[in-house]
């Protein structure tokens, strides 16, 4: 009984001491704590954000990505995507328009001397294989990629939502798996042709003469003329950039954060659409635009007259080699 009383007295004493200690500080805090001044405010935090920064904190969920509260650059991503669609659409439609106009005005570029009947080997099997590997895969990637950007506006109204989803889902798989063929093609192409595509002084003259397309005569060219070099570097650099950004997108967040993913998506789409426009010009000049050009990538054998007109330096060297080889030793 006495023990309990002592305990109570002790407890009361402790409480009294605690109150006495706590009281002065509580009294001062009463007047100075200002929850408005001390609390974080959303607007202040948003104003302090730099571009590409997110408003984030701590979460108890074991997913670090969930700690991002607000990422205003999401709207920026949307705006850039819309802008890319406009630029890409304009580039592709503009190029198609230019090519039709060129065909109407200039018509098919014929061989001035007509066909000679003899041919010369322009591209071997490995070169043609590399070209078509890249070409077919690029077209598949281009069409499925354009579907992702423009399909909603152009294809969806025609075939309806369910069919469009099936198409886009299949397109996504095609896009993913064919990308490996494309990347291989770009790599092989670079290794095969880089030595013939280094810039030369005569490339300037080629451009000044309009590549022989506008009636100023055929400028001399080696294995590849300046226009082809332009296509080569567009494909190698553009295709390389598309491949890199594409693989970033294919393995989400493996190497980068959301800002990096947005960046990759935006540039992947933009470069892809512009390269598609460039390739349209290449397809045109290699097929309906120029007599004899398709043979280079078809059989690999081109007419000697065509070769002399478009690749004079290369042709002379090749014919010289062949001549030496064929000439009887004296």
């Amino acid at each position: 009984m006495a023990f309990v009383t002592i305990r109570r007295a002790a407890a009361a004493a402790v409480i009294a001491v605690l109150c006495a200690v706590a009281h002065p500080s509580a009294a001062t805090a009463q007047g100075s704590v200002n929850p408005t001044a001390s609390s974080v405010k959303e607007q202040q935090l948003l104003d302090a954000l730099k571009p590409d920064q997110r408003l984030s904190g701590r979460v108890s969920i074991p997913d670090p990505g969930a700690s991002s509260l607000i990422q205003p650059e999401g709207r920026q991503f949307r705006a850039e995507r819309d802008q890319n669609a406009r630029i890409g659409g304009l580039a592709i439609l503009g190029m198609l328009g230019l090519l039709v106009l060129f065909y109407v005005v200039r018509g098919k570029v014929r061989m001035d001397g007509g066909r000679s009947g003899t041919t010369i080997t322009r591209f071997g099997f490995v070169e043609r294989f590399t070209h078509w590997l890249t070409a077919v895969s690029f077209l598949l990637l281009g069409l499925t990629g354009l579907n992702i950007t423009f399909g909603r506006a152009l294809v969806l109204p025609l075939i309806g939502p369910q069919a469009f989803t099936s198409l886009s889902q299949a397109g996504k798989f095609v896009h993913i798996y064919v990308s490996f063929a494309f990347a291989l093609g770009i790599l092989l192409m670079f290794l095969l042709w880089v030595k013939d595509n280094l810039p030369a002084l005569r490339d300037i003259r080629w451009f000044l003469q309009g590549g022989g397309l506008i009636g100023l005569g055929h400028p001399p060219a080696d294995r590849f003329n300046a226009g082809q070099k332009l296509i080569f570097w567009s494909v190698v650099l553009g295709g390389g950039a598309i491949a890199v950004t594409g693989y970033i997108l294919m393995f989400p967040f493996a190497w980068t954060d959301i800002a990096g993913m947005q960046w990759a998506s935006v540039w992947h789409g933009l470069i892809g659409a512009v390269l598609f426009a460039v390739i349209l010009a290449h397809i045109y000049i290699g097929s309906v635009g120029m007599e004899g050009a398709i043979d280079a990538m078809g059989s690999g054998e081109v007419d000697v007259n065509w070769a002399k007109e478009h690749h004079s330096i290369w042709t002379e060297r090749e014919l010289g080699k062949a001549g030496k080889g064929a000439a009887p030793a004296e």
Binding site: N34, P35, T36, S38, S39, V40, K41, E42, Q43, L45, L46, L55, S56, G57, R58, V59, S60, I61, D63, G65, A66, S67, S68, L69, I70, Q71, P72, G74, R75, F77, R78, R81, D82, N147, I148, T149, G151, R152, L156, P161, Q162, F164, T165, S168, Q169, K172, I176, Y177, L249, M250, F251, P252, I258, M261, Q262, S265
Partner: protein, 198 residues
């Protein structure tokens, strides 16, 4: 029709995470996905605040704008929903969303993510209301039953408010006036391009 919104009064949120748990339970959300989360800003510092965040059901929603297959739609109550039938799991909505709402059940090879999942405002999906198909794919459809989202309904401090935008804004305004402070209607400016004048 109401214009449904969420409002988290961060000055009341005690970071109990009951909204997160309630959401997971009510909607039977797949493992690894959190349709709602509580983020603590300035954790451990004076003036720290916790904010419960999910899909804000934006006006002119960025997710819907960037979706390549147009799988999003806005209901009469201005709730932003999507069709998992149509989603191809491309991930663009996640890149565009200011609130990190869209999530994907898979992280498979080659970026295969599965069908996107996000807060439905407890309003199900495009399937007929409260059918088994709807429940399996999207979770509860409380709105069709005349109830508000469970996260807000069971918030113990009534920090998280759901309901018509004007009504919950009014409640928040009254609170701020009465207590004399407020850290803001988190996310409103980003989601609805408006803020609550207090």
């Amino acid at each position: 029709m109401a214009r449904m919104k969420f409002l988290c009064d961060a000055d009341r949120c005690i970071e109990c995470n009951a909204c997160v748990t309630a959401c997971k339970n009510e909607n039977e959300v797949p493992w690894g996905i959190n349709r709602r989360r509580v983020v603590t800003i300035n954790d451990g510092k004076p003036g720290e605040r916790s904010v419960s965040m999910a899909c804000m059901h934006c006006t002119d929603a960025p997710c819907a704008a960037v979706c390549p297959v147009d799988c999003f739609y806005t209901t009469e109550d201005a709730v932003v929903l999507h069709s998992k039938e149509l989603c191809i799991g491309c991930g663009y909505c996640f890149y565009a969303c200011p609130f990190g709402a869209p999530q994907y059940p898979k992280t498979g090879n080659f970026g295969s993510r599965g069908k996107m999942d996000k807060c439905t405002y407890c309003a199900g999906g495009p399937e007929a209301d409260n059918t088994k198909e709807e429940r399996v794919a999207y979770g509860a459809n409380r709105l069709a039953e005349g109830k508000l989202p469970l996260c807000a309904e069971m918030c113990s401090t009534k920090a998280l408010l759901a309901g018509d935008g004007e009504i919950i804004a009014q409640i928040y305004k009254e609170r701020v006036t009465k207590r004399g402070y407020g850290s803001g209607a988190w996310g409103w400016k980003t989601a609805y391009k408006e803020t609550i004048a207090t």
